[in-house]
Point group: C2
Chain length 341, copies 2
DNA sequence: CTGAAAGCGCTAACAA
DNA sequence: TTGTTAGCGCTTTCAG
């Protein structure tokens, strides 16, 4: 492995000079870096000749900070996080950072482990989607590196956040069902996340606006997984309180509900309507296509990364909460049908 | 940040001893590490008290190797790679490694950049899904770290590989269509990958076995993206040579084809059948559900990671090619219908 | 069994 | 403008 020493000796200069030439492009020095053009050329020639590439580990050790950023999400297989991760990866690499990926499965223990790992790796910063537990005790987590929270609400801590206006989105989605005549609306919410809670709150707010109150049998917190959505939906369908609509807080739960409805040979929306969050490949391909709140996922990921990079550049900067509105896409799965008007 | 020096001084020993205590658990030394139990205790107590955690960057620099592994895929949003990445992440973290994620978009330039970056980061190894170009010149890429190739065929280089028997899978999938009476089968194949080529070969082999030869108009290489699948399918549907079945080599293309068929109000499989590769959330949710070759994605990712870790442990080990068989899941989208028998 | 010291590759004071 | 040198935190000879 060719090191800075090799470059220095072939160029006939000291390692310091090589370093100066190389780092000049990086940090934009106020007054430029004082290396004679002639010397600079010699150094560059040596770099080319030897195919020298700086050792980033050494650089990190020296700088006490690396050009890596961490992304900690519950499960990359959730299409929402898949899309976020792609946006984050694009943006980080554009800016010369690399990306660590961590899946927590909404497990606070894993969260703690990964957070510590990120510190041990001296990452420059982290983009994090914490569980409710974590979010509630965020201040006491003693996170001593730049961090941006995505998708989840943080209370009692001063952090940069990028997330949807979940209450509003859920409210609009539920009102849409109510307007179309549905009254026995069941809610399947992701447990462990503030997002699930907030969307549940929006759902309840909408019901109250229509002088309805949700049956306890109709509100269920489940793991954000297809199987959990399937099981919960099946149970409700087979119960004495079969709903006339399902409101789910993420695409995995919606997929589970859809499976359950297929298993029971129910028709959407005639037997039961279905609405959810997050645009996916399949939401428009199934029949009828699914009504949902689309989140600007790529934008969320990109914004979060930008906020993070800005915070890294200036840790004293005041924090920002970026709240985005969801877009309601009305499709067939929530159509009002004759018997319901 | 508490360093090994702090631990050493509070424990009243040298940094060397602290290091010995700490690394003992890591590398299983042939004869154990000779630290008196009493001293070890003192060190551990200091570690606890100070909440010391070793600086991984420093450790990497010293060891000239890190505990990071890289995953370089074309696009994490392809459900196949999403699943692979989750398996890889699980397995790497289990073994105390962290994971770098890189998306190349099947762009050889990005591949080169990321490969170099991985070297600069001193990763312990890389799991890589290269383009055809890269695969063809793999030997000349001068990769000087452990690497395992997934999903793609490598010729002329001695590397560990984990991939599907693509020709066989495509052959069986096509034969299935032929058996069900389809004769004008169009193939949409992912360009840039050996996988697309191999699957195309399996498709042709099946046609030849039935004394058919594919029309040039019916074989198309496109970017592995929904939009590309949509555009290509639409063109074929609207052409003079409308196929009676679509064979696509990945789920994104299949989604595009499905969109195209919806756009033209065609019925599956009566107007045109559809078969593809890769199980997805939606393949069984659309109607009719899609016939496909399922790959054991999680297993592929896990196996690749295990091969990589073994190679890291023993670089002289002889290479392995793990070839897995796909599983044909026959569903409604390829059903024989009366007019076709 | 333990400590002293060198050095991984790099950058930033400080000198010259 | 350039070189010398120290040191980031760690592990590993080499002595003792």
């Amino acid at each position: 492995m060719v090191s800075i020493k090799d470059v220095a000796s072939t160029a006939g200069v000291s390692t310091a000079t090589v370093s100066r030439v190389l780092t000049n492009g990086l940090h934009v020095r106020p007054d430029g870096l004082h290396v004679r053009p002639e010397v600079r050329e010699r150094v560059m020639a040596a770099v080319e000749k030897l195919e020298y590439r700086p050792n980033l580990v050494a650089r990190s050790l020296r700088a006490q900070q690396s050009s890596k950023i961490g992304l900690i999400v519950s499960d990359i297989r959730n299409p929402f996080f898949t899309s976020i991760s792609r946006a984050v990866e694009d943006t980080t690499h554009e800016q010369g950072f690399s990306l660590f990926l961590c899946n927590t499965d909404e497990d606070p223990e894993k969260e703690a482990i990964y957070l510590k790992l990120m510190r041990d790796e001296s990452v420059a910063g982290v983009i994090f989607s914490p569980t409710r537990q974590m979010a509630a005790n965020f201040a006491s987590a003693e996170i001593n590196f730049p961090i941006v929270v995505v998708d989840r609400l943080i209370t009692g801590a001063d952090v940069d956040v990028v997330l949807l206006d979940n209450v509003d989105a859920a409210y609009r989605l539920t009102v849409h069902l109510l307007e179309n005549g549905y009254r026995r609306i069941a809610a399947l919410c992701g447990e462990m996340s503030t997002t699930g809670r907030e969307r549940q709150a929006g759902y309840e707010k909408a019901l109250r606006a229509y002088d309805l109150s949700p049956l306890t049998e109709h509100v269920k917190y489940v793991q954000p997984k297809i199987e959990a959505g399937y099981a919960a939906a099946l149970k409700m369908i087979d119960s004495a309180h079969m709903p006339d609509a399902f409101f789910t807080t993420n695409s995995l739960l919606a997929a589970g509900v859809l499976q359950a409805m297929r298993a029971r040979n129910l028709t959407i929306p005639d037997d039961i309507a279905l609405v959810t969050f997050d645009e996916t490949t399949w939401a428009e391909l199934v029949q009828p296509p699914i009504t949902l709140i689309a989140q600007p996922t790529y934008e969320i990921g990109k914004t979060a990364t930008e906020l993070l990079l800005q915070r890294i550049a200036d840790p004293t900067r005041s924090t920002r909460q970026v709240i985005l509105k969801g877009k309601l896409l009305v499709r067939g799965s929530s159509a009002a049908h004759s018997g319901k008007r």
